[in-house]
């Protein structure tokens, strides 16, 4: 129960950030752009996946991306909370606005339940990855991840590997797309693939665990 209370304390920081920072505006602009693409040829599934994934990258950047937000973790950890609760709460703070964006975009381009679910699954997986990246390297990592997700996230790895005489970079990119929370895989959620859902759940869990380790390191190793 105390753990849930601590998670809620982190999640409750979302509302002021949505209203008082550029977080709300960024999500709005992202949503407008994706809906525009949806009305100009992009399929609803791609719109929902990108809304979930890109929204959660933006959410992670605003949840813990700034140097001040990361420095403030030291004081938070001086209170009766845990790094795992902090990481879980910040993950939720990244996922839930992105999930809202995915649902809103799905509604705007023509509701399809499988597409919206795929968007939510993509949001949860990408948020785990984004949270870890942002804790490691700040908002710059979020920008890099955003661009990667927007440009190459939906490309299947075969597209890179099948290029003749692939170099090390191509193999690395293909591997990242194969193992990472790439959107091509979460398209399969819409067709009911349990493997894709499990992959997303694994990324969400891994992201939270890695992020909690990084949060612990920020506050110093708490004595038992």
């Amino acid at each position: 129960m105390h753990f849930l209370r601590c998670v809620f304390a982190e999640w409750a920081l979302v509302r002021p950030r949505l209203v008082r920072t550029r977080f709300g505006l960024c999500l709005l602009l992202l949503g407008v752009a994706l809906v525009w693409l949806g009305h100009h040829g992009a399929d609803p599934l791609a719109v929902a996946l990108h809304a979930g994934a890109l929204g959660s990258v933006v959410g992670a950047a605003f949840a813990i991306g700034s140097a001040a937000d990361r420095a403030a973790l030291v004081i938070a950890l001086g209170h009766p909370t845990t790094p795992l609760a902090v990481a879980t709460g910040r993950w939720l703070a990244a996922v839930l606005p992105a999930a809202g964006l995915a649902v809103a975009c799905s509604l705007a381009v023509g509701w399809q339940t499988p597409s919206a679910v795929a968007g939510l699954v993509a949001a949860s997986a990408v948020a785990g990855c984004a949270l870890t990246a942002v804790l490691l390297a700040g908002s710059g990592a979020a920008l890099a991840l955003f661009i990667c997700m927007a440009l190459a996230g939906a490309v299947p790895p075969e597209a890179f590997v099948s290029i003749a005489d692939p170099g090390a970079v191509r193999v690395a990119v293909a591997s990242a797309l194969e193992l990472g929370p790439a959107l091509w895989r979460y398209r399969e959620v819409a067709t009911g693939s349990a493997g894709a859902v499990l992959h997303a759940a694994a990324w969400a869990a891994l992201g939270i665990v890695l992020a909690s380790g990084l949060v612990r390191r920020r506050g110093g190793a708490r004595a038992p």
Binding site: A9, T21, A68, V74, I75, A76, G78, P80
Partner: protein, 279 residues
């Protein structure tokens, strides 16, 4: 048996802490003094439980509130929201609101409760650091330079607020560069150098130490034993001897004494002496 609020026994590591021991009573303020890198912040973090000691034991009677030297708060939140955020870790519902209200009152933050954390100046940041550290009725406060670098009025106000907390039984471990705040508040001080306690004692006893200042027409080439040369002549601590005996030593060295006076040592001199003696 004495009921301590906080004890550290032979704490070694992380660097530079080396066999530091202390015992803090409820309602007591211990000042930690020392140059940069002496281990003051590390000692407070170990006492707060934020950093694990390499060796030795730390015991607290309850949770300790920690105020870091350069406190940073979520910039998008107001002062009230910042305290509300931390209060969620301690309580729920109406109790949480009471905690926030009490913390605002303790630190005198009520007039700026709706100001953004990003817009706060140093004084208000230190007030907010004190408020969050005291949240939840904590009985041990670990304040890292919370009273340093403030203007005299702000320092006096914060000193008064800390003193009020101490009067209710709260124990405070206070690291400070600003020794005037310690002279006013602390009952005991520890002087740290390179992670070791090189001097410890009650402020009253330390400030009772006297120094004989001797004014000379010409500075001597070689000071008498126990004296050191100053710009105006000589000075020596009166550790157990009378001023007359010390002056007689000067005369024995054929020094032309123009005038002399006895004064008490400042805390700053005591720290510097301890620092020099431990070299």
């Amino acid at each position: 048996m004495t009921d301590y609020a906080l004890t550290l026994h032979e704490v070694c590591g992380p660097q530079p802490l080396d066999a530091v021991s202390l015992a803090l009573l409820p309602g007591e303020i211990i000042g930690i003094i020392g140059p940069a890198g002496a281990g003051k912040t590390t000692l407070l973090k170990v006492a707060a439980g934020l950093v694990r000691p390499g060796r030795g034991t730390v015991w607290r009677s309850g949770a300790a509130g920690y105020a870091p030297e350069a406190p940073v708060f979520p910039p998008a939140l107001t002062v009230r929201e910042v305290l509300g955020y931390y209060a969620r870790f301690h309580a729920i519902g109406a109790m949480r609101r009471v905690l926030v209200h009490d913390a605002l009152e303790i630190a005198g933050l009520a007039p700026i409760a709706n100001a953004r954390a990003a817009a706060l100046g140093r004084v208000d940041l230190q007030r907010l650091a004190l408020a969050q550290a005291s949240l939840g009725g904590r009985q041990v406060l670990l304040l890292d330079e919370t009273l340093s670098g403030l203007d005299p009025l702000a320092r006096r106000d914060l000193c008064t607020r800390v003193a009020h907390l101490v009067a209710t039984g709260v124990a405070v471990l206070l690291a400070a560069r600003d020794l005037s705040a310690l002279e006013r508040l602390a009952s005991r001080v520890l002087v740290l150098r390179a992670g070791r306690v090189v001097r410890a004692g009650s402020v009253a006893a330390l400030l009772a130490e006297r120094v004989l200042e001797v004014f000379l027409d010409h500075p001597p080439p070689e000071p008498p034993p126990g004296f050191r040369v100053t710009a105006a002549g000589l000075e020596a601590p009166l550790a157990g001897r009378t001023p007359e005996a010390a002056l007689a030593l000067c005369r024995a060295h054929r020094l032309a004494v123009r005038a002399s006076r006895v004064r008490v040592k400042s805390l700053e001199e005591i720290v510097l002496d301890a620092h020099d003696a431990s070299r």
